[in-house]
Amino acid sequence: MLIRDLYYLSLHNLLLHKIRSFLTSLGIIFGVGSVIAMLAISGGAKNAALDQIAALGIDNIIVFTKSLKKPGGSESDPSRTLDYGLTHVDMKNIEKMENIRHITSIRNGRLQITRGVDVLDVEMFWVTPDFLKDLNCSIIRGRWLTPPDFKNAAPVCVIGRDVKRKLFNLGETEIIGRILHVPFGAFTIVGILENNAGTSIEGINSINDSIYIPSTTGRKVFSEYTAETGPRMLKIHHVEHDIFIVKVKDTQVIDHTARRITSLLNKTHDDKDWGIHVPLSLLKQKEQTQNIFTIVMGSIAAISLIVGGIGIMNIMLANVYERRKEIGTRRAMGAKKKDILFQFLIETVFLTTMGGVAGIGLGIGLSAAVTRFSGMPSDVSMWSIVGSITISGIVGVLFGTYPAWQAANQNPIDALKAE
C-alpha cells in the first residue's frame, strides 16, 4: 500500500468521527497543555529570578557586614563601643589580592530620615565613586557625585528616583539645588538616580528609595561612630564599611577569589561579623534547583501522558473490535498484515500528535492568561513545543502498537463473520 494512501485512509477515519477523536485525545490535550503552561510559567519565573541575580553582576563578589546582636562584652559595662564589620584594612587587603579590579564601598548612614514628625523608609548611604556603575544605576536628572565632591568631602547628595515623592510635595518639580536637611547635616541635592535592573543587595532596602553622599563627606559629617540609646544604656557602634562590591577581572576563577577573601577575613576577624555572596554561584544554584523542578514537572507530564495514552489505547482497541468486518474485508481484498497494522498505528499517531498540537495551543493560551491576569511572567520555549509534538507522537506509537497489532492479527474469517 502506498504511504500516501495509508495517510489518507488514517486521516479519513479520524475525521469521520471528529467528536470521538477529539474526546479520545483530550487526555493528551490536557496533558500537553498543562505541561506547556507549567514549563512556560516556571521558565518565566526562572528567567525573572536569574535576571535578578544577574543584576547583582556576575563578575561581582559581595562582602557585607553583619551586626553583632550579642557583643563579647559583659552586661556590667552598659556603655561600651561595639566595634565590628568590614574595615579599611580589609578593603586594602582585598584590593591587593589577585583578580580584583576594584572595590565599591557602601556604608549605611544609620540615620532616621524624617519629614516633619513622620519617619520615612528612606536610608542614606555613603558610597564610593563606582557605586553608580557597579549597581547598574543611571542618572535621570542632574549629575552623579564628582571627584572634587569626594576630594573636598562636599555636602552634596544624589537621591533615588522615589525619594523625591517622599520628601517633597507634588508641585515641587525642580529639586536639583534644594537643600536636604537630616539630623546633624544638610546636603545640596545634585542629581537623581534610577535603577531599572531590579538590583537588590543585602543591606540596601531599595536603591530607588535611598540617598547617596560621598563616603568622605559621610565620615567627615557623621564620623564612623553611631550612638544607640535606650533605657539606662548607651551603645556606640563603630562600623567602617557595610558592603564591599568586589569586581573581579576573570569570572572563571571567581569562586577561588571568593574563597581567598573568605580565608582572609576568617583570619583577621575574631567574630563572624561579615558575610559573602557570589551572585554567579547563586545563579548556578538557582539553575540547579530549577532543573530539579523541571525534572519533577517532567515526571508529572509523563504520568499524564501515560494516562492519556492508556485512554487512547482503550478507545483504539474498541475501535479495532468495532471494525473487524472492515478489517476482514480488507484482508480478503489483499491487505497484508502490515497494511492493517500501519493503518491503525498511523491513525493513533495522528490522533496523539493532533492532540499534542491542540495541547500546545491550550498551553500557550493558559500561560498567556496567567500572565495577563496574575502578572506572573511566562515564557513558552521552542524546545517545549518541539518536545511536546515529538513526545505526543511517541505516545501514539507506544500505545497504538498493541491495538494495531491486534487488528493486523485478526483471523480474516472470524473478522469477516463479525457484525
Partner: protein, 233 residues
C-alpha cells in the same frame, strides 16, 4: 481488461483440490467439516456450489479464497501448492488473482462508491489516476457509472452488490468467488445480479465459483458441485 481467458482457449486447470480436509478442533471436540474433497476447476467455468446449510460450502470457498487453511490434503493454485506460501504471499495472491463477493456486500459505509471500488487497487499500489479511471469503467460496466460519488447507504441492495462486483474485478482477478451473493436480495434483484454474473462470464469467460442454495439457479451453471456431509456427491 476484464478477467479473460479467451486468448488461450485451451482448457487450463487453475484450481485442483486433492483429498482436501478441514476439521475444526473445539476444546475436546473434533468437528470435521470437509472430509476429503477432490475437485478441479478450469478457466472460464461458471461453477455453482450447492448443499444444505452447514454442509461446508462457505468453508470450502474460504479455503479456495486463501482466507482459510485446510487441515489436510492439498490445494494447488495455478499448479503451485499454496501450503508453502507466507501470509504476505497469500495476501498478494488474494489481491491479484481472486475477487471476493460477499452475501452482505461488505462495502465500507464511509467511502464513496468510487473509493470502495478502488480498494483492491489501493492494495495493488496502482497509481491514483489509474485507479480512478478503472473504477469509473467498472462502475459503468455494472450500470452505476452515475453513482460514483454516492455512499453505499444511498444505494439499494442490488446496487450495492453491483458495486461489490465491480470492486472484485478491480485487479482483473483470475476468478471470482461469491458466497451466496443473492442471499440478501429479493427475487427480481437476484435475477439482475445473476444476469450480471452470466454476462461477465459470457463476454469475458471470467471464471466464477458461486455458493448458492437456490435450486432455481442450477441451470445457469456450467457445472454444479453438490456438497453433502463434507463430501462432493
Amino acid at each position: 481488461m476484464y478477467p479473460q481467458n479467451n486468448k488461450d482457449n485451451a482448457v487450463r486447470e487453475i484450481i485442483r483440490l486433492e483429498r482436501l480436509e478441514k476439521t475444526y478442533y473445539l476444546e475436546s471436540l473434533e468437528v470435521p467439516v470437509l472430509k476429503g474433497i477432490d475437485l478441479s476447476i478450469y478457466n472460464g467455468e461458471l461453477i455453482g456450489i450447492m448443499g444444505v446449510s452447514g454442509s461446508g460450502k462457505s468453508t470450502m470457498l474460504n479455503i479456495l479464497g486463501l482466507l482459510d487453511v485446510p487441515t489436510g490434503g492439498r490445494y494447488f493454485l495455478d499448479g503451485q501448492e499454496v501450503r508453502n506460501f507466507s501470509d504476505n504471499a497469500l495476501a498478494q495472491l488474494r489481491n491479484a488473482k481472486i475477487g471476493f463477493i460477499f452475501q452482505s456486500f461488505n462495502l465500507s459505509p464511509h467511502l464513496t462508491v468510487e473509493q470502495n471500488i478502488e480498494m483492491p487497487m489501493v492494495y495493488a499500489e496502482s497509481p491514483k489516476k489509474v485507479r480512478r479511471e478503472r473504477a469509473r469503467e467498472l462502475a459503468e460496466r455494472v450500470g452505476l457509472g452515475h453513482r460514483l460519488k454516492h455512499r453505499p447507504r444511498e444505494l439499494s441492495g442490488g446496487e450495492c452488490q453491483r458495486i461489490a462486483i465491480a470492486r472484485a474485478l478491480g485487479n482483473s482477478p483470475a476468478y471470482l468467488l461469491a458466497d451466496e451473493p443473492t442471499g440478501n436480495l429479493d427475487e427480481k434483484t437476484s435475477d439482475e445480479i445473476m444476469e450480471l454474473f452470466t454476462g461477465l462470464h459470457q463476454e469475458h469467460h471470467t471464471t466464477i465459483v458461486m455458493v448458492t442454495h437456490n435450486p432455481d439457479l442450477e441451470s445457469l451453471f456450467d457445472r454444479v458441485i453438490h456438497l453433502r456431509d463434507g463430501r462432493v456427491v
